[in-house]
């Protein structure tokens, strides 16, 4: 079993007086796919956003690939290149083509020439099967295609870990499959992934470990068959029950 590549310890997060994360410990091993589930408001997205410091944790420690994310001396822009993130609302840059979206950080952050960045960007688009859409603007792509471009934008930087924040929640049902397929292929390539999502079928099939959060705490975690098939905690059972009924 390899060492943890993501390690969060005792993470607290307050939004004003609201205590959203109440001491969360999460360790993710290399090549592991951890699935985070829980009711809305349970803090799962906040936890994910703390991992790359889009949210500043109020307390605790976070280490990613050996880098102390909360150390003031850490070059956060450099650290973030190792952590790809995919958002619920895609967040593609609407004034750039798919290729431009993927190439931007390669050029500006990794300092590649335009030609090198675009070549790498094309490879990334090929990995999500969108090479033929390189010249399209986000507004000309379906939601599913946009999300796959967003995945390409993240993996082009060759991150050590990928964070997915409800990647399919904003998609029409018929577009979900393509995004899950891209995630599955990413997983098969050995990417370490932390996924916040309600796609329980995908969790059963692909996750190594499922983490159930409620009220800002991790209530229960384990392999998907244990969490879905035989949850130990009452709250987990209630949540799984609710999900299964749908």
């Amino acid at each position: 079993m390899s060492a943890a590549i993501v390690e969060a310890r005792g993470v607290h997060k307050y939004f004003g007086g609201l205590h959203v994360l109440k001491g969360v410990d999460l360790a993710v091993r290399e090549r592991e796919l951890v699935f985070v589930i829980g009711p809305s408001g349970s803090g799962k997205s906040t936890l994910l956003r703390c991992l790359n410091r889009l949210e500043e944790p109020s307390d605790g420690s976070i280490t990613v690939d050996g880098i102390d994310m909360l150390d003031r001396r850490t070059d956060i822009n450099k650290a973030r290149q190792r952590i790809g993130m995919v958002f619920q609302s895609f967040n593609l840059y609407p004034h750039m083509t798919a290729l431009g979206n993927v190439a931007l950080a390669l050029r500006r952050v990794q300092g590649m020439s335009r030609a090198a960045a675009e070549a790498r960007a094309r490879q990334a688009l090929e990995r999500v099967h969108l090479a033929d859409r390189a010249g399209h603007y986000p507004g000309q792509l379906s939601g599913g295609q946009q999300q796959r471009v967003a995945i390409a934008r993240a993996i082009a930087l060759e991150p050590r870990v990928m964070l997915f924040d409800e990647p399919t929640s904003a998609l029409d049902p018929e577009l979900v499959g393509g995004v899950l397929q891209a995630m599955r292929e990413l997983r098969e390539s050995g990417m370490t992934m932390v996924v916040v999502s309600h796609e329980m079928g995908f969790a059963r099939a692909a996750a190594d470990r499922v983490v159930f959060m409620d009220g800002g705490r991790i209530v229960e975690e384990g392999p998907p068959e244990a969490i879905f098939g035989n949850p130990q905690q009452e709250r987990t059972r209630a949540f799984i029950g609710q999900i299964e009924r749908h």
Partner: protein, 226 residues
Amino acid sequence: MTNWDRFLDSFFNARVAAEYLPKIIEGFWLTILLAACIILAGVAAGLALAVLRSLGIRVLNWAIIFVVDLFRALPPLVIIALLYFGLPAAGLSLSGFAAAWLALSLVLMAFTEEIFWAGITAVPKGQWEAARSTGLGFLDTFTLVVLPQAVRMVIPPLTNRTIAITKGTALASVVAVQEILGAAQAGVSFSFNPTPLTLGAVAYLVLFLPVVILGRWVETRFAWKR
């Protein structure tokens, strides 16, 4: 002489028109020069203020908001008068052209700052987050991701405001600048006939109609491909 003849003689007098057309044309070019200087300085200064404001330095933002509200509240004519008639008392004389340019540039700056600021804040937070999550810094995110979207969004109100302010160049006639209106009014005084004002109105149309149409074109040109 019927009323109709009198009307034609007053507003469409060919002899007066021929005599004062060259002055109006001179005024036309002066208006363009003044307007161009105002747009350049006003939009650039307004954008600069909006950029400074996004840095989020509180004291600086208070100062920016104070200046912006000041120049949005004051009538442009009052500012022109203050600069032209008031500054000499402080030992600083501005030409009518300079006073009008400075006053209208300050007003345009104030409105442009608000417009750009509105555009910048209207760019979804997710755009910042996406860019920052790929390791782009604040400055790159702002200039390459946020600002281009903000600028596209504000092209329509910016065009409108720019046209409105540049029409204010007519106020410069008050401080003896022989732009279109100044030249027309001088013509009226000399000829005792309002025809130069008609010429002036036509000159404004010739000047601003293309600008309005150009504004439309710019709006469509900058729209995102959908």
